[in-house]
Amino acid sequence: MRLKIPTNFRIVRLPCTGKIDIIHILRAFEKGADGLYVVGCMEGDCHFNQGNFRARKRVEQAAKILDQVGVGGERVRMYNLSSGEGPLFAQYSIEMVNKIKEMGPSPVRLAKQKKATAA
């Protein structure tokens, strides 16, 4: 397919999106990530039945926490697609990267940079 996708995000592979936990998402932001999205299988198509539903709930919880601490819950999102939808994967990655660019850097990253400059 040779699809073009942005180069400024890192893919972390999981055996199933049901493996993701809230703390994994929060740690990414704590370490300075500007955004994060989870790509799971289509709802109803999970090999483990509920993995992607669990992931969605955890993404929602993480978003709520990020809102409460002033980082912004919109920086995290869940997408669903099937493994045969490469073009859609590319489209989602472009969509997410553009959205995060619009939002600007994460306040955590800015604060860390400010601290590092001051030191």
Binding site: I23, L26, E30, Q68, V69, V71, K112
Partner: protein, 222 residues
Amino acid sequence: MIIAEKKPIQEIIEEVQNFDRILILGCNECVTVCEAGGKKEVEVLASALRMYFITQGKEKVISEHTLERQCDHEYLEEIRKNIDNYDAIVSLACGVGVQFAAEKYLTMPLLPGVNTICLGANEDRGLWTERCQACGSCVLARTGGICPVSRCAKRVLNGPCGGSTNGKCELGPDTDCAWQLIVDRLKALDKMDDYEKIAPIKDWSTDRAGGPRTVTREDVKI
């Protein structure tokens, strides 16, 4: 088990903002099972607080530790050697754990990170319901294993009352009528004769009415 609910992060932020070195202390027992104050919740709360304070430009040290139990002296001793490294502890244990830790570390501010709700069970994923009010004199043998003290809003011991409709309590359609459940269960057990027996007046002195309760067992005291 004891059921607790996480306190809103904003409430915890307000409680801890005047402290610089904070320990988030979890408990591996009931609050872990009800997903309110176990190791995972400790990690999440600590991470959230760190992010909040760093964006506010405040230097805070937020550490994490989870004890096997906070309602036992032995486990609470684990943190004694490091206790001077902190200005305050946010305990994610139930009210028992928070108080026990507070009694043990007299000069350390102890802040609760959860609201303790009831003695209950995990009925379904994400649903915990009350099953016991620790009244101190159990009547379950007579009521088919369904507790009228904790599950009937009026604590009626010879029920149901007039508010029972289609098996639901007058509180609302989400609350089962405890006495309907009792009758159903007694029928299943073929023990409806028990239902005919009038319960005597319950001795409430073993409940909270008699003040804070203690259990003293000379047989196990050393």
